[in-house]
Amino acid sequence: MHRPWLPRLAVLALAVPAAACTDSIRQSNPLAVNSPPPARREAGTTGCLLSYATGPGTGCAVTATVSPASPFMRQSSLSPVQMGPITIVFSGPVTNVRVSGSGAISCNHFVGALVGYDSAGTEIARQDLTLINPADCGADGVTFGAAAILPAGKQFRKVVIEPMSPFQFPVFNLTGNSTANYSLFFDQAADSTKIAFTSTPRANMRPSIHVSANPLCRRLTYVPQRRSYTVAITRGGAPVANTAVQLALTAVDESGGHVAHTGTRPLGSFTTGANANTTELTVTTDAQGRAQFPYEAPEYSGQYVITATVAGTPPKADTVTVSVNGLADLGTGTSWNLIGATAVHPDAHYGTATMRSALVELADSFHTRFTRRLEYNDVSLVQGGRFDIDGDWVDASHCDHRWGQGADLRTNDLTAAQTNYVRLKWARIDGTNSYLNEGSPVHYHLKTSR
């Protein structure tokens, strides 16, 4: 139970004879009926508290440096005397700052001010303390405390409690002394700690190429696509050095046109190399609050998510799009049929503008001459990249269906004249056209150079 009258007795203790003082106060102000605010956290806040009663710990992620450190959060003309301002510097931005004093102060003089500063040290708010309960003043003109609230919506990196003035004041022809023991309530600002990603380059990444054992792909060599990342940690705009940042890789489900696959999806790697597969990594920030790491794209296009986690801070994610840009759906037409859709690759007719135009021109001319539709099987997936026909992240037979420049044409039911027609037309259409005889069922693999 707080007993406000006890400090009010003390306020006069060094100034007047004890018997006279206590009598006088008891007569003039028998009991302070109101209590000062309790030093506890309030509902609806992040619960930061800095109090004479609880010491320098704030109880939240933001720490505070109080000057003077002793006596702690106190202004008084009584021992221990501390009549200067109290300066509180926070480790990060805070909001909803409120101060409440407990002790004995004059009802009739300036009882102090609470001043807020931003991270640049600029004063951005000032509020004079006001008596918590003016009705408590009574005949002696003394009350237990004053309080102030800084405007909401602002973020502060420093607050100063300016002292009351004067500290000593007349009380029933005696000299009274002021004492205020403070509790400072505040919330940690939502963005107190920030995680930011920067990368070079920033645009979409092309898929990497890995060497394949498939004889159809024997000319492929390891061609990595890499990006350099920097993760920066700041708190209240200031860099946070020597902090561990945990990185993790995931993929957006079904991205890149890969649906319901078996096996484990390659995600790329935080380390480099043909066989690198580092999907979790911990880095430590330097003096500038930064840490760098590489990211090497997988062969499979899609959306990949890099998540950075720092203790006590919400994770930050950055989505990397691995894609062959410029691909579009061939779509349906009156002179061709799209075939080959599967449960694991339901949409596989994406090509470059050159390829799409060539396929349309070929089919239209073929239909004009032979009055039948061509049947186009796989081209590329929606964002290109490696096309694992079997949906297992392993199959590699479609190695030229990565760039939107390779398309399969079913030919097993075409006549010799019709296949010759296809070859002759395709050879004229665009670029360095080519065609290959493949597989089961027999089909041509049509290629364009763009």
Binding site: I209, L220, V223, S397, G406, R423, G439
Partner: protein, 249 residues
């Protein structure tokens, strides 16, 4: 004068891109015989008979000539057996392809004709021997990788090219300009070997002037030398342009 003519011819030959010169035939040894027929409205019909000489090892599959004057019509000699095209890699051409029954060694094609507005000019032709579809190799490198070697084009490896006479847009300029152009064509025909006698080259060169008498003399000489020292290609080229110049006088 003869020396001068050969010097001009050599300079022109040097200016011809390497790709436009006769390339070693991958099994094809051809004789391309162009003829031209003037049509109303400034149109010209070019007809090619492509002889696949008995020295060839392979069958002729397609024949394409550049068409700087775009074709207004093109004919397939046999619609069931042949197909045609007028664009190749975005350029205007006249192209004929065989769907069935290739032109084997010792055989020749029927007349392959197209019509365009223009005059005879030297153009390039490309002929493809029939070859089976290559077996699969899908290992295409990233086309964005400038250091990666492009995949070989099987079509290019089975194509021969050379010079022949086609239809080019009517030349601009006055009669003196046209006469100068005619002289250059004489020099080019000689350099290409379409006129195989230096004396004939010299004689034709001096007749390439903006004068009706000279031009008529040139036509008479071409008629006389056709099939002797003047090939069908040279005859078509020079006679067509001499007549065009005569019409402008």
């Amino acid at each position: 004068m003869l020396t001068k003519i050969f010097a001009v011819a050599a300079a022109l030959l040097a200016a011809v891109p390497a790709a436009a010169q006769q390339a070693p035939a991958p099994g094809l040894d051809l004789d391309v015989r162009p003829t031209f027929q003037a049509l109303p409205g400034g149109l010209l019909r070019a007809t090619y008979v492509v002889a696949n000489l008995s020295s060839s090892a392979d069958s002729l599959w397609s024949f394409t000539v550049d068409a700087p004057a775009p074709a207004v019509s093109i004919a397939a000699p046999d619609a069931d057996r042949w197909e045609t095209g007028t664009m190749d890699h975005g350029a205007t051409v006249a192209s004929w392809g065989i769907l069935e029954g290739m032109v084997g060694p010792g055989q020749q094609s029927p007349g392959l004709s197209y019509v365009a507005a223009g005059v005879p000019g030297i153009v390039q032709y490309r002929a493809v021997r029939w070859f089976p579809v290559p077996d699969g190799d899908e290992s295409e490198p990233d086309p964005a990788d400038s250091t990666a070697a492009p995949a070989p084009d099987p079509l290019a490896a089975n194509t021969v090219s050379g010079s022949t006479v086609g239809i080019v847009p009517p030349p601009a300029g006055g009669t003196d300009v046209l006469a100068g152009r005619l002289g250059q064509l004489v020099a080019q025909a000689c350099a290409l070997g379409w006129i195989d006698n230096a004396g004939v080259c010299n004689s034709l060169q001096v007749k390439a002037v903006a004068d009706a008498d000279g031009l008529n003399d040139m036509l008479h000489e071409l008629d006389a030398q056709r099939g002797k020292h003047v090939s069908d290609a040279a005859y078509s080229l020079l006679a067509g342009n001499a007549r065009y110049l005569l019409e402008q006088l």
